[in-house]
Symmetry: C2
Subunit: 242 residues, 2 copies
Amino acid sequence: MTNPTAAMLVVGDEILSGRTRDSNMHFLAGELTKHGVDLAEVRIVADRADAIVAAVRDLHDTYDHVFTSGGIGPTHDDITADCIAQALGRSIDVRDDARALLQAHYDGQGKELNAARLRMARIPEGATLIDNPVSVAPGFTLENVHVMAGVPSVFQAMVASVLPRITGGAPLLSQSLRIERGEGDIAGPLSDLAAQYPDLQMGSYPYVQNGAFGVNVVIRGTDAGRINTALTTLSDLFAGPA
Amino acid sequence: MTNPTAAMLVVGDEILSGRTRDSNMHFLAGELTKHGVDLAEVRIVADRADAIVAAVRDLHDTYDHVFTSGGIGPTHDDITADCIAQALGRSIDVRDDARALLQAHYDGQGKELNAARLRMARIPEGATLIDNPVSVAPGFTLENVHVMAGVPSVFQAMVASVLPRITGGAPLLSQSLRIERGEGDIAGPLSDLAAQYPDLQMGSYPYVQNGAFGVNVVIRGTDAGRINTALTTLSDLFAGPA
């Protein structure tokens, strides 16, 4: 597969404590799949500088793109921008164009651009701003790292701003078949089928429903015709009662 | 904080493709928080041996405990057990006690313990089995790595089997306050408050609802009295209309 690869880094104490469920990951995964970018890894780390810096360095060196969510707001626990600068060896300071965006926004609301809000104009040297049509404070792209907000509506708007700049490959297509048999009954034939279609990925996802075992088989690839043919073969194999 | 630390490794193509949402992470995070174990990192990797082996080694060396979910079923894409053995330098083969569990289960169902199902009895040398009251095929603990199934009902049952074996610390408690103001308005006072309570973590999670901005502030720690005092102070600071 020659599609570009990507990783996501979620900065989120609140997810690690079990208080909230992440939804940005699921959104980004779907958008990247449509755009022909292979999301190969996701990491969720706490709001701690050492953890964020280490993860950014590692993912930056390994994948074509890194998408981060969270930690770019005005409060004391918003340290992502500074961590990105540190990880990539850049300086960071309030930038005039980002400050002007915030000044105009808060002037219009009759609110003060106080010291806390001004933190959101801190942008690492050499970065490109990412537009935020929801709440103005921008994200940024530095090298291959795209830094976005954690609030889902803002994250989604920023992804929409960033994706058109990224060259994708062939969209990954998928079809699935629900088979009401135990996974152990289909494993052998499925393995044989997978060997016949080395260009497709075949995943089997078991479920338990009302005490009965079944499997969803998902076939993924970039060639719709091949996926259809493989799915038809699979369906014929397991047609009729178990 | 002296609580033991943990990481979770989710093996899951289907999450990275955006097809399904992970629910095991959210469940484990909540259980570990109650048990006094700090979940410090989550990684989600594809069903690829090199990715799984590298992540297991890294997390095994860094945290007190590692919990994995997914990839221990009977199909060709279930490679987690072999990857754990490789990562920790152990041999792996069908083990008699695991085979006996499966044999009795499938005999009782009138099903064959075929080659695919027998793969689920492959257990690395030196591991301890984890009970699976839902579908019998066991998980296992090897050193500090707890290997569990991805099907949520099975994962949850295995977590219930494993947690009593793990010595936890003080449960992490939390309280939250919803403040209907912009995050930039509360950031300064919140930072001052956080400095007064270095034993507590204060996180601020902004939201947008019907076009209005607000913040949920979450205060976490192990001392319920201190959390209450800090929350009351915070509430007094922002009582009344903005």
